[in-house]
Amino acid sequence: MSPPSSASPETHYLRIRREADTRRKSFVELTEPRIHIGMATCGIASGALETKKAFEEALAERRLSARIHSVGCIGHCYAEPIVVIDNPASGFPPILYPETHPGKAKMLAKFFVEEGDPRLEHILGATEPNDMIPVITDYPRFNMETRVVMAKCGKIDPEDIYDYIAEGGYAALAKSLQEPAARIIDEVVSSGLRGRGGAGFPTGRKWELAAGAGGESKLVICNADEGDPGAYMDRTILESNPHQVVEGMILCGYAVGAENAIVYVRAEYPLAVKLVTRAIEQARKLGLLGKQILGSPFDFDIQVFQGSGAFVCGEETALIQSIEGNRGMPLHRPPFPVQMGLNGRPTIINNVKTLATISPILENGADWFRGIGTEQSPGTAIFSVVGNVVHPGLVEIPMGVTLRTLIFDICGGIPNQKKFKAVQIGGPSGGCLPEEFLDTPIDFDSLIEAGAMMGSGGMVVMDEDACLVDVSRYFLEFTQNESCGKCTFCRIGTHHLLTILERLTQGEGRPEDIELLQTLSQDIKNGSLCGLGKTAPNPVLTSLQYFMDEYEAHITEKKCPACMCRSLTAFYIDLDTCAIGCEACVAVCPTDAIFTTSTRKKGVDLVRCVKCGECMVACPPEYDAVRRVSPLGLAPAVEKPKETPRKE
């Protein structure tokens, strides 16, 4: 490829940029109200479609003219469906409303859109500084984040390329196309960016290898096969801002000298598939993809491949196998994909988040990026924080922030006055860390040192009611199921690990089990080819290390300290507080396990009881009579009357 000759890419880009600016200007200068609705999968799941319909109906009914703007997700799952209403005529700044269900939508259409009364009791805050009402950035969940990858998520319409361009999108591409490819790689190397797929391999190094690889047609693959059950940031990025990923892919292609690219996205993410496909079409139309991009001699195009759902396909060689139409089984490395990948072509595979970080780096410079995060792990990390926290959702923080800050300050801590017990980081490959590790800074190396890993970025916070043995069993059930079956230790070893853990949760644990778990885990780690097997025992090993007493209680006392393992837990009704005549628990019991005792109070038939805990929720707080105990023997026996209730 000859170096680009004239300044044409930027000129080309400026023309598109002017069009975007004109469109943006006409949108911003609208005097009519604008309603932004978060319409990513999470928003839709919480009812955003109904909310949008309610707004449309209310606007039509009241003959109001307002613009409805579908945007992506801002990552605040606890508040979905989220709506931002900007009504310039009211004199108020744009205001963010949480949990806007249809009723609230109709109310807001009437009061705020029509009458200009923002109904302050329903707001979360204004999105712009002003001197009337609090701003959302006054809350820690908003102001303690640093958004690099997700900066534009939730602000722009993912279906409109001009929206992205008006925010400065594709400027980095135009600039970079005028420079030699080697300079882009230098910039990425000196930024210190490490692959966000989990392992943290230096991205610049990978690009150097790919650029240096022989072979004619190189290939770029964007790995969006997010398989961790509990991590969804890749999906959110593709659904909220697909163009930033597309731009990253083009830049990667230019830097390493590739002509083709594939986005490998899970078929289970239909909206992400749709939006990224549309983004590629739009980019093609504007000359950002295809032949002679922005007038430069560089040709590049992207195709979408839908992955069929196999956790192991997150592994590079397995992913390539699956595109070739085979079962996704990892191959031995070397040869590495950068030397010999899809159909023998040199293939460079990067994660969605890695690629989405490229354009901000090239736009602002490597030094800017190095200024965020830590020395060894520059930049930001995105976590999906779920489980027992007040404000779950996606959080983007600079590397180096401690777990305590993330969980307690940003995400609001543990709800219901419960105590923090453990945090599971990195999904099925990661580990559980106890309270002592809350001051661990979040970066690649510190987490590995503590026994967890960055992994996919899934983070599950557990309160005192979680049983670590059961959580380990859950993750093993997942990895055992997802093991591709190639390596004996992974295929059979994880099965045995699972059998032992199941035995423990059912109260049939044996004293030698703990040692067996440890040696078997080590064997699986040593005897597996790919990351799945090498990391599958991590949840077991870390929980054994930090929560040994729980394992021991399960084995020696047949007791689940958290009362989570159902085989070891019994429910009973405290006859001192149970009220005569109350039937609340009877009504909700799915198996008719609750009977009336001879004293006309209630008792639990332990044979029928499936331990779902529904009676505990249903029991009125003033009686609070349902008790959950472990081990089983602690539940007092209550005699069940033989006959149907006696006549009074």
Binding site: S46, E80, P229, Q306, R327
Partner: protein, 177 residues
Amino acid sequence: MDDVLQAEEEAILSNVRSRLALFEKDRSRLIPILQMIQETHAYLPAAAFGIVADFLGISECDVYGVATFYNQFRFNPPGRNPIKVCLGTACHVRGGDIILENFERRLEISEGETTRDREFSIERVACVGCCAIAPVAVIGETVHGSMAPSKVESLILRVQLEKEREERSQAKNESTQ
């Protein structure tokens, strides 16, 4: 019932045959072909494997091996109201398995099966991405958050009542015509 199924399957197979023509005869098209069949017909009938294998010139067991490797593919027809219970990490911590168990008990089928009247089927899925409202179940296209065992009963009842209402209004329409 079986006759109905067989007739349906025949129709599906002939449709598959005609659609295959749109694809390149290349091994790398295998997964997209299987996805196409499932997308149009909601499942992969066993007889389709042979057709696909012939088309691509690979063995039938190769096709079967790939299809069963991936979680996306299902091999029996789903119910009219497919129920997906999320067992992602957040849902598990909040009792997703109890919800699955309640659906199974109530409908008297196991996960992966369809009721005899083909009204309901149950599937477990790993994370639908609504972790904040866990535990979650998806019926048809609708996501139901903060599930509880008592909500299982009411959701199934609601689907059944709606069906009855529809049948009644249909019968009424027919009698008035």
